[in-house]
Symmetry: C2
Subunit: 217 residues, 2 copies
DNA sequence: CTCGCCCTTGACCCGTGGGTCAACCGGGTG
DNA sequence: CACCCGGTTGACCCACGGGTCAAGGGCGAG
């Protein structure tokens, strides 16, 4: 394939099929262990067709990552109430992220694969970096109004992103047999306790009841 | 090679050379992108020799991982004062881990590579699982004596291990231009704030001054 | 009907890199 | 000195999987 051609409806559908099957195989046996032949076989098409839609395996992978990054972003934005106080917004974002990561576990298992290749390192970085920027901005506000511990905002932001990511990882890899809702709530508590400048504030933020938004398919 | 033969001093040295050069190359360009030929070239030996010492690339990798896991464990044990209160021990362990991970950044960049292959997944699991077990035990004690928030101990333990890992990761990948000592101290504070059942206790534990143990080469 | 554009096929090419092997070196030992 | 054994060499083999390509199908427009 050259760059981005126009695809007919059929073409787009076929492409999505390939993406889906690839994601499943990657999650199941890893990126390196998945041959292009496996992907096309799973989708029930000939090998040559792969190259009609993608330049190569890596390009497909990038598309998968990008596609997913946008979805997560949307889920976060949807869960956050922009009028709430900063710490609460962070909690909302964190819980939404955990929920999202759990329901798209395959994709995230996939994301971790990125590390295998230096070339993917910055791809991945980009993904968390956006989230981190959002959180850092909220933290700045929280520090200014005294609700968040007075530490460098960017460092704290790493902690939030990291916590979400790690709990997501542990849950995904089956080491934490726990309903998603409980996990999300727990992570929310953890993050709030880590950031709050004192107990009163932590309790206040944790008192708010969050109704879990359904994850759109 | 068959299994574990006896190696002469020269043999052991050669093997270590291969391990070292492999680690460097893996860190530099990733696991999948490092050919066995690259490794032997870097070590200045012939390709056939590789198979005298290792069954294949994966076997070498496993050995590298194992070797490193043990070192980290030792560093943790050395930093922890077994007579101190649980929360403080956790802090000591966390700070030591961060320091260790920073000084052996190459090895840990490497560890992340494990994800690329399903076969490595449980290897990695094993590594964190030990640490997590240690922490969980300390947390149990802390919950019992009221110094740690009353949440499931194993969940909290995941948070500690995760935080250490993530900050290590971010620092290693150059996104946090910060002296190791400051980072370690910060992570210590983060962990303590996340776990402490109230401010008094957090302050008490954070008041203790930790003198950074030098990392043995 | 027929032209042309997407889409689809599967045989084929070929570089890469894992793994083997027969031969060779050199120091320690009887 | 002869032998042995751990260590070392690099040419060679070859399967695997990435990427190509010429040709064929089918559907919509004109």
């Amino acid at each position: 394939m050259s760059d981005d051609r126009r695809l007919t409806a059929q073409g787009q559908e076929r492409k999505d099929q390939l993406l889906d099957h690839a994601a499943e195989l990657f999650a199941e046996r890893g990126y390196a262990e998945t041959r292009i032949l496996d992907i096309v076989k799973a989708a029930g098409v000939a090998k040559g067709l792969f190259y009609w839609y993608f330049e190569n395996k890596e390009a497909l992978f990038r598309e998968l990552v990008e596609q997913n990054r946008l979805r997560l972003r949307r889920a976060q934005a949807q869960a956050i109430d922009p009028t709430a106080e900063p710490l609460l917004q962070i909690r909302q974002g964190a819980e939404a992220s955990v929920r999202y990561m759990a329901s798209y576990a395959n994709f995230f298992a996939l994301l971790e694969v990125e590390n295998m290749d230096k070339a993917f390192a910055d791809e991945r970085t980009k993904g968390t970096e956006v989230h981190r920027g959002d959180v850092a901005a909220l933290i700045e506000v929280g520090i200014a109004d005294g609700s968040i511990r007075d530490e460098p905002a960017d460092l704290l932001a790493f902690g939030v992103v990291g916590t979400v990511g790690y709990y997501g990882h542990f849950h995904r890899t089956g080491r934490m047999p726990l309903p998603v809702d409980e996990l999300a709530a727990f992570v929310g508590r953890w993050v709030v306790c880590s950031l709050a400048s004192d107990e009163q504030i932590a309790r206040r933020v944790l008192a708010v009841r969050l109704d879990p938004e359904p994850i759109p398919a």
